[in-house]
Symmetry: C5
Subunit: 335 residues, 5 copies
């Protein structure tokens, strides 16, 4: 889908221009043109990007064919930006909370000129849709220029990370409780999946933060000095997201260690139980075996000491020995 928004210099709003009309709109230095390529194949996008806008072939290639971590390239008359939006896999939406480990990020390519913004993405991105609708509802957002439009999009993108991060935090809390209450290998798999997501996010968040830092600090021809404070605001959000992500990575690492400790703790308890049983019954079994041989033999063959008195002595031993063994064991092995 190719959709477009064009606000002329005198404030009129045109939507869904014909691709043939893009060139004229681009010439209107005081208008604002936004073209959004959604899930379009490269062969459709390329002629427009290349011929109508005259973007450098390398930049067009980056946008259409390749996967990139977030970056900003300054091509003088326009900027080429790669940003990433967070997205939950579709099937995870109607499932339980643990699916937070199924989040992914979608690439969003943006060309920003003085009076136009061209965006390209292979998947539908909720944050872009939201800005699109906002511009439809309230065209003032288009009055402030293309750089302000970029700010809106970046702000929505970053805002959309927050719920994901919060869900991950909640999911992690639950894992943590599970680890202490009922550690099983499934928890381990969830932790590992969470670790992967966090590593993936870090690979995105670190350069994305850097992109916003550059937009807020560096001098670009297509960004007004006054707009930089807006990017500074988005940058502050990115910093916080990045810090939370790093903290969670640290916690997940600690959770793996904790898991092992809890398992070993339980193993110790199991072994203690085994030891108690063995310590108490093995001597008893020996006593029954020993006396069994000698005690109740037919009269005449039995040793003289095999009397009923002795039988009760033996029963007393059977009560006292386990108690002694149990005491000895406690002392030896801190039970």
């Amino acid at each position: 889908m190719i959709r477009s928004l064009y606000r002329t210099r005198d404030g009129q709003l045109h939507t869904d221009l014909e691709p043939g009309a893009f060139a004229a709109a681009r010439q209107d230095a005081e208008g604002l043109l936004w073209i959004d390529f959604v899930e379009e194949p490269p062969e459709v996008c390329e002629p427009i990007l290349h011929d109508t806008f005259g973007f450098h072939p390398l930049a067009v290639d980056d946008a259409l064919r390749e996967t990139h971590v977030p970056k900003v390239d300054d091509w003088g008359e326009y900027l080429y930006l790669v940003l990433h939006a967070i997205a939950f896999n579709e099937q995870s939406l109607d499932e339980s909370r643990h699916d937070v480990t199924r989040t992914d990020t979608y690439e969003l390519d943006i060309f920003l000129g003085k009076n136009y913004l061209v965006s390209h993405h292979d998947r539908q991105i909720v944050a872009v849709d939201r800005v699109w609708e906002l511009c439809h509802r309230d065209e003032r957002h288009l009055q402030k220029g293309a750089d302000h439009l970029l700010y809106r999009i970046a702000d929505e993108l970053v805002t959309s990370y927050m719920p994901a991060v919060e869900e991950m935090d909640a999911a992690f809390d639950e894992f943590e409780d599970q680890i202490v209450a009922n550690p099983d290998p499934g928890t381990l798999e969830h932790l590992f999946a969470l670790k992967r997501v966090l590593l993936h996010h870090r690979r995105i968040l670190t350069p994305q933060r850097e992109v916003l830092n550059k937009l807020a600090r560096d001098d670009y021809a297509v960004i007004d000095a006054d707009s930089r404070i807006f990017f500074r605001d988005v940058y502050d959000h990115m910093v916080r997201l990045h810090d939370i992500n790093e903290s969670m990575r640290d916690l997940v690492g600690g959770a793996l260690d904790t898991y092992l400790s809890v398992i070993n703790n339980r193993m110790n308890d199991t072994i203690k139980t085994l030891t108690i049983i063995t310590t108490m019954f093995m001597p008893l079994t020996f006593v029954t075996g020993f006396f069994g041989m000698n005690f109740f033999l037919p009269p005449g063959e039995a040793p003289i000491w095999a009397t009923r008195v002795l039988f009760f002595v033996m029963v007393v031993m059977m009560i006292v020995i386990p108690i002694i063994m149990f005491g000895w064991m406690r002392k030896r092995a801190w039970m």
Copy 2:
């Protein structure tokens, strides 16, 4: 609650001005106005911040609606600062020491102008109250200007971290002793909670340190060059707090490893006990079984070697075998 302190150019102190009087007080370039918004909803604060003081909408938004890590934004005629105060959760105050893991941090937003300071916080902050009372008691603190007032607040904030850090240190000492003396999963949970608090503090302390470094080094219109040495002093405290925090993080990580080692140590002792019992009684049981079959049979069916002499031989075996087994076991398994 909105409370205000206003020292006119001729040294008079007015408290609790009407909001309508803020604008006039702000104009008094040689006076000093401090307005403190405590637990006020955004719709009350916003008109004052925006209309009376003319703060930038982004800064007002940051202060009223969003959560930030500490930062300082230079808006020319005023600074916008985010600082964090440490706070114990209320319920933890009357409980035992372990609740140190329940500390939280509260955001404090400050706008600093040449002749005014506007502070905003959603929770009551003890450090702010203390400076407030100080200014009431001794108005000289207001003579030195708004930047000195900011120094006072920052100093109190940082000072209030110290007892929390000391309690955490004490709590950690106790955990450490528990780990060696009596490791149980509860200790693990406490350690994990402590780790979380330390990570949270790091996320606050690192940027807060940076804010104070900037105040001490950078050139801001609203901060006198002479005041910078005061911020330098607060910065030194932040450095120390940050270092202690990092050391504790390192120790907590080591404590998790130690916990595992102690548990395994104990498990080894338990298994040794089990092995001693088994090694001594299993051969004995076999001996009683073996001789039991052959020894005390009715005369005529018994093997010729089933005599009383042999019976005592067997008893001797029952004494000697465990001793041999015990020696062999010691050699094999370092007991």
Copy 3:
């Protein structure tokens, strides 16, 4: 093998010049000469590099005799570059996927002048062959100058890393599943081999990224300012490769921890099984031993309580005792 490509100033293409003709071709300031030394011994390469091209002895030594991590040395009229290509060991090509751990990197030495490029490698490198063929098929690639040729080679080198990285990622996924489903020491060995490869790659990727960063940013006499954006593009790919490599190192470290946790989990299960058996049968064996002594004795010697009723009481005990023991054990050791 020494092979050469020479495009004269008027666009003619000569291949496989005699070494004697190199000097003349080098003088043609508007032509382009590419000489490629493949698996040639130093004594063949040295005279050409040294006498015909006049490269510094240190650079020639670096190229012919020594192993280096990627670097770029600026010798004024020419650059000396070391790059590394990824390569699968030959035997691994026809085997299964796990052989990803057998990847190696081959050194590629390049001398880049204004109008020539001399490459030297001790092993055949697929990426170089691919560019060689490309230049044969379409001589326009030679029109853009020696620096563009270097870009082509660098781009192919970096591109050839991608499948290896993807295979490693897939192999790691499989290891991870194996760890949870069926951990055995073989997995451990594979993980360790993977770790080694990742460390080796890091040693290559980090400086290689730096080389491309320098080519994209620094001012070299032999690289046109316009060509730098191409190296910037290759640099972006290197950044991504490096990030993926670091993430995988992190994951492999976590996988080693997970392995231990899974093994301990299973050990715990085994010990529980052992404990269940022991807890249930040891008391039973004692009961049979105890009653065996007293119960079915010849009439007259048996205690008065040795009746059939009691026999059934004993059978009931044999059913009830294991149930009680099992309950006690569950409570003690969370089973």
Copy 4:
């Protein structure tokens, strides 16, 4: 105790001046005055520091009331330095070597002017005493100026770290041997105490190194450019100390891991012993049980195969079965 040394411009040495004479001595621009406050309460030191020397209240506060990590503050006419001396706790001096984990650091505050040095410490510091005596014995040390005196003190401080570091190294060696030879929880506690000391040292050594780096590189009014090379020398020692400290931290971390491995190794040996015993005697016990039922019954009730020949067959089984079991076990469990 307040002690003082004053060398007049004409080379005379006065000791233990009255506090009232400090002001005059301080005016003697070509003399050198050293005042040392040892274990003096703040209310004694403050008037002298504040009134006689005119130090800034913040610096005086830092010196007298607060704990700081090493730092250097440039107050123009004087420097305020915080350094730390290493100290063994008193009780540890007459005990064995393990007390190395009881080392602590004492804060030393120094004010350095053009012609004076004021030092303040709450505990006696051996390194300061040594320089004090040195100056008494050989007044040439005072001729070279206050900055040279500071160098002497810093050099002694750093030198006094060395034996502590060497003892820690020796103690660690011993711990390491203990871990492999005889791991017990006491070793763990010692290791943990060592870790704490190393972390504490790092918190001191890192900023102390930085202080000396600044003294060696930066331009301070009160330090001659020629003296900087001396501080450079002390800085080199600090670098080495810091590196050794970091290496030891790394080794202690590895020792904790090793401890766990050794314990598990031993546990494995214990379990092997248990398994050997069980594997060999359980089948034997079953054989005696099985044949016991059938073998030596009264003639007529016994099965026809219950002959003496079979008895020896059974004895042979009792010899062969354990051998077979032992072989099976070895194969299953790498013993």
Copy 5:
């Protein structure tokens, strides 16, 4: 031993000058003098270094009395350098390969002037001897000046690290195989020793790399700008050595983890064996005990069901029960 090489301005070579002749040789601005102090006590070296060459007392002290990590101090007319040579302990030379963990580094102090080089070392260093002999054999090495001589020595030093590093790599490979095939505490000790060597090397290699970086980049009076490329070459080697060292540290850390995993793996196997035996024989022993009581009693006292048919039923149970138990156990504990 003090040995000297002196090449006069007219190309004559004098060896083993009298110490008295050093001063004159030093004056010959176009000659080249190399003095090498080997295992000489400080009192012999000091007068020459101090009086004849006029080196600063701090530098002389550093060279003769103290231990330093590599560094370079610029004293204007001369450089003072500390480098480290790698050395195998003597006894390790004729022993097996594992002694790689016994490598040590020896300090080499060098004073480099425009026309002289003074080296000092407390132990014989092979790399220095090699350059010494080289200069004897081929005096052209002396023609290129003192800085080139320094390059030769530095190059030999770095080259001599390579075999040590390769042996360590080979030794590590062997350890790694041992860990998986046959882990014992001896391997752990070897790993730990290797870790120590690697940490020691890092402490040397990191600053030594920095020294060579400075020689290659900085502007020193006694080093020709043209010579810097040679030091750049040595620097590249240092970078590679340092990277290999860091990779090996990483691998050794992973090997410690792997050791633990392998041990636990084996422990699990041992416990499985124990559990199999127990699971199969405990029920059997119970069955023999139970039936033993009731089965072969004298006629009249036996229950009516004690027939031969039942005997074979019992034998069948003894075959079936272990099979059932084994199946149950497998299911419970993944065997």
